[in-house]
């Protein structure tokens, strides 16, 4: 009982005392906080997305808001790099990027209207476009880079000569033929076992290889190969065995051009064997193993200034060798293509 009243008494005393101390503090230190008045108004309106500390903003139109991006894990590093650079200039824009896969991004995030952009390593499919339009989401297709697959063999391999044809590649990797020795593919080649390295079947590179070489309705990719999730391991594997072959993203090959040799590919369109390189991928000669990468902004989101600005920024930087090629490892857009995409984007922004 006594302890209790003591507690109450002291608590009350504290309230009074701290209140008094607070008041003196207020009286002493209150200032007319003019620079926070802008923040106050926006806070009162409840437009919380733009509620930010305005202390640094000196009147120049500083953008703020949130950009949500989902989609392909292939485009993910590019989007991340772009977002990082964009935020150097517009630090008040929040950018959230998620790697969900092209299809998962469309189906679960973009078309239901949750995200502003969806990255994709392929064109949008018909049923995905239908799903989007039924939710009043209009995808705007923008090409942002080119990805090139590279087939690699050991540096000591000299029997391939000029390179491989698409037919030969298909023979090597198809589940139907499954040659065990090189001589099974071409009688002139040595009677040695083929060691095959490649990415695991969950990767976009694997999907793309099937699509480009074996054909989606074809027999499928053979399964008796050393599947790995890390490109490092593919390079190591091929480096270690004279009769090995493997394939991977061009970016990883370009970081280790001396460890293995890239195979030139002939797709039978008359221009012979084409070596993979930034130039051949850009010019469109390196077919079919180069593919465009896209991002799809939603036209409805482009009405928001910060989303539109980010899309413009991305396209403006899509020719930057520094970001696209060196930092991420894809092939940048050409000037012409960039202009075409910018026009398309601006038209979409105007329309929206």
């Amino acid at each position: 009982m006594t302890r209790n009243t003591d507690g109450v008494l002291s608590r009350r005393k504290f309230l009074i005392a701290s209140g008094a101390a607070g008041l003196t503090g207020l009286a002493g230190c209150t200032e007319n906080n003019s620079d926070s008045s802008g923040g106050d108004q926006s806070g009162g309106d409840g437009t919380s997305t733009s509620e930010t500390e305005q202390s640094g903003g000196d009147g120049s139109q500083s953008l703020s808001g949130t950009v949500d991006i989902a989609g392909s894990s292939t485009v993910f590093p590019l989007a991340t790099a772009m977002a990082e650079n964009f935020r150097v200039e517009h630090s008040e824009v929040n950018i959230n990027i998620q790697s969900t896969g092209s299809g998962g991004g469309f189906a679960n995030y973009f078309c239901p209207g949750e995200t502003d952009f969806n990255n994709a390593s392929r064109h949008i499919k018909g049923e995905e476009a239908d799903q989007c339009s039924s939710n009043d989401v209009t995808p705007v297709e923008l090409k942002v880079a080119t990805d090139a697959l590279t087939v690699i063999v050991n540096n000591d391999n000299d029997f391939l000569g000029e390179g491989l044809t698409v037919e030969q590649l298909k023979t090597i990797f198809s589940a139907e033929t499954q040659p065990t020795t090189w001589s099974d593919v071409n009688a002139e080649w040595p009677d040695e076992e083929i060691e095959i390295y490649g990415p695991a079947d969950a990767s976009g590179t694997y999907d793309y290889f099937i699509e480009a070489i074996i054909g989606e309705d074809g027999p499928g990719h053979r399964q008796d190969y050393s599947a790995t999730e890390q490109d490092r391991t593919i390079i190591q594997g091929v480096q270690g065995s004279e009769f090995a072959i493997g394939y991977m993203g061009f970016a990883y090959y370009s970081e280790n051009p001396d460890a293995v040799q890239a195979v030139a590919i002939d797709d039978g369109d008359g221009d012979g064997y084409v070596e993979p390189s930034l130039d051949t991928a850009l010019s469109g000669d390196y077919t079919p193993l180069s593919r465009p990468l896209f991002t799809y902004p939603a036209q409805e989101s482009l009405t928001e200034e910060h989303v539109a600005e980010f899309a413009r920024y991305w396209l403006k930087k899509s020719t930057s060798k520094k970001i696209v090629a060196d930092q991420v490892g894809y092939v940048p857009l050409g000037e012409e293509e960039q202009q075409e995409m910018l026009d398309k984007l601006n038209a979409a922004i105007d329309e929206a």
């Binding site: 003591d6 507690g7 008494l9 002291s10 608590r11 005393k13 504290f14 309230l15 005392a17 701290s18 101390a21 607070g22 503090g25 207020l26 230190c29 209150t30 200032e31 007319n32 906080n33 926070s36 923040g39 106050d40 806070g43 009162g44 919380s48 509620e51 500390e53 949130t66 949500d68 989902a70 894990s73 993910f76 590093p77 991340t80 790099a81 977002a83 990082e84 935020r87 929040n94 950018i95 959230n96 990027i97 998620q98 790697s99 969900t100 679960n108 995030y109 949750e114 999730e229 890390q230 930092q327 991420v328």
Partner: protein
């Protein structure tokens, strides 16, 4: 254990082969140590990768060895031989300071960056006014019966927080629109310093059994906090963060140490250890600065803690993930603590012994065994697909993780409640208390330390979880702190996972990921040690 003494008798019979027993004993010890040693080795490796102590100058190591390691070892060794209780007190103070500084970092993120101080202040005022009214109402008007009192309290809070749209401004609105508002550091000093002053005052008043002493201590705490704000800029630090660290870390630790010095005469020499560590670190830091020795090239540095993600491992930071983890933890605690304790109270105090109760009982223990990834599916399916919430937000993540740890909270709270002696309940009922009064005044206060321990351990589990966050679609990369319950959120383990899979390069493996792992582990170890210390204290008291 009584058996310990028995082996003494066995010796009398001679001739029993002791080899097997000895070998067995050491095998058991080796088995016990296996996991612990393996983990310790791994921790050394990851800490070495993250902090790189070998990159520091030899002079740097030597300086700290002389100013910190040697004196601490000497003092510690002396205390260990003379007075282990004092050693315990000393290490408690050091540990408390470390944990409190860590905690103050979290508080600073929440109250400076996530909630702008003015907004926080306006809501604090909006909550304090009706709370004060309620206290006055219950203290002076005992005649009002329960229902109108609840109604009046509810109305007071509602009016204060939301106002009447169109007619009456809510108090937070009024405060935010006030023409003259205090600057940020004043707000922080008032609110955090006020809370610290209240706690300090209560503590001193209790140990000194003197309300006036408490009052003086409280005012002193507030004044110190205010002074820190003025002192901060002089030392070249931001006054906001200085206030937070002072109010949350320095003042409480100093009070605890001061209180121990006053009341525990035999053990107070242990404070020497705390003093040695603090002075040693400060002197060491000043000395290396003066002598120009370079410290280690640690990847866990200020920049790592305050930067967002970057595609280059050197510049990548953990800041949004740290803020996200804190917000998630607050949400999880707010959701799971009341419901978990409520369920435990129901099952222990109210539930009739029937089939439904037994079903709930079995059900909870089964829920505790459901894999976390399935909880992730639950969050994805129920919250996102069926309730149509946006993916990856703080509230969805918090709710999913809260469901995940709910069974653990319930089970540990039930244990704590069961440990409350039946006599105490009987005594309370004997005094004519109702069931609710017994629960509120006897059971919960008695069981509180146990409940708290269980909840902290469960929260530790929650912030270490990754799979449910992936399932509900939390973004892999995000550049700014979540500021609302509906913002997208990342978390420390998720960021570590994203770095180790999506950015799987040698650079990330050797720099950003180890640094992230170390930060995550430090936070978790701090939480676990709080829980363990609390439990030991609680167990030794009861």
């Amino acid at each position: 254990m009584a058996t310990d003494t028995e082996s003494g008798y066995a010796e009398g019979f001679g001739q029993v082969s002791r080899t097997v027993g000895t070998v067995f004993r050491y095998l058991l010890l080796a088995a016990t140590m296996f996991g612990i040693v393996t983990l310790a080795v791994l921790l050394v490796y990851v800490a070495n990768d993250a902090i790189q102590p070998l990159t520091a100058d030899a002079g740097w190591h030597l300086t700290f060895f002389l100013t910190l390691v040697v004196p601490t070892t000497l003092v510690g060794g002396y205390l260990y031989r003379r007075n282990t209780d004092a050693l315990k007190l000393g290490s408690t103070v050091v540990g408390m300071l470390a944990v409190a500084v860590l905690f103050s970092g979290g508080v600073a993120i929440v109250f400076v960056d996530i909630i702008p101080p003015l907004t926080g202040f306006s809501y604090a005022v909006g909550l304090v006014i009706p709370a004060a009214l309620t206290v006055i109402l219950t203290k002076y008007e005992r005649q009002i019966s329960f229902t109108p009192r609840v109604a009046a309290t509810g109305a007071a809070f509602f009016l204060s927080l939301f106002g009447v749209p169109g007619y009456l401004h809510s108090i937070p609105e009024l405060v935010q629109k006030a023409p003259v508002v205090p600057s940020d550091w004043v707000i922080l000093a008032l609110v955090l310093g006020g809370v610290a002053a209240l706690v300090v005052g209560q503590y001193i008043a209790r140990i000194r059994e003197d309300a006036t002493a408490g009052l003086i201590a409280g005012v002193a705490a507030l004044v110190v906090t205010g002074l820190a704000a003025l002192l901060g800029p002089l030392l070249g630090y931001d006054s906001n963060s200085f206030v937070v660290v002072t109010a949350v870390a320095v003042v409480p630790t100093a009070t605890y140490a001061g209180g121990a010095a006053l009341t525990r005469k035999r053990e107070r020499i242990g404070l020497l250890l705390a003093g040695t560590v603090i002075v040693g670190s400060l002197v060491g830091a000043a000395a290396v600065d003066l002598l120009g020795f370079a410290g280690p090239q640690s990847w866990v540095n200020w920049q790592f803690l305050t930067n967002p993600h970057s595609s280059s491992a050197e510049r990548a930071g953990l800041y949004p993930a740290i803020g996200g983890s804190i917000l998630l933890m607050v949400t999880v605690a707010a959701l799971s603590f009341p419901t978990g304790v409520g369920a435990a109270v129901y099952l222990e105090e109210y539930a009739p012994d029937n089939r439904f109760t037994r079903f709930i009982d079995v059900n909870i223990s089964n829920l505790a065994g459901v894999p976390s990834v399935v909880y992730g599916l639950l969050g994805l399916g129920v919250f996102v697909t069926y309730l149509g919430q946006a993916t990856g937000t703080v509230i969805i993540g918090g709710a999913t993780l809260a469901l995940l740890i709910l069974p653990i909270v319930i089970i540990s709270s039930r244990e704590a409640i069961r440990a409350v002696p039946q006599d105490m309940r009987q005594a309370s009922y004997g005094m004519g208390a109702t069931r609710w009064q017994t629960v509120k005044n006897v059971v919960l206060p008695e069981a509180f330390p146990g409940i708290l321990t269980g909840t902290i351990l469960a929260l530790g589990r929650a912030i270490g979880e990754t799979a449910p966050l992936i399932m509900i679609g939390a973004p892999n990369v995000l550049f700014s702190l979540p500021t609302e319950l509906t913002s997208k959120v990342s978390a420390m383990p998720l960021q570590v996972y994203a770095w180790s899979t999506l950015f799987a390069s040698e650079d990330f493996y050797t720099k950003a990921v180890p640094a992230g792992v170390v930060v995550l582990l430090v936070v978790l170890l701090a939480m676990n040690s709080i829980a363990i210390v609390l439990r030991n204290k609680f167990e030794s008291e009861s």
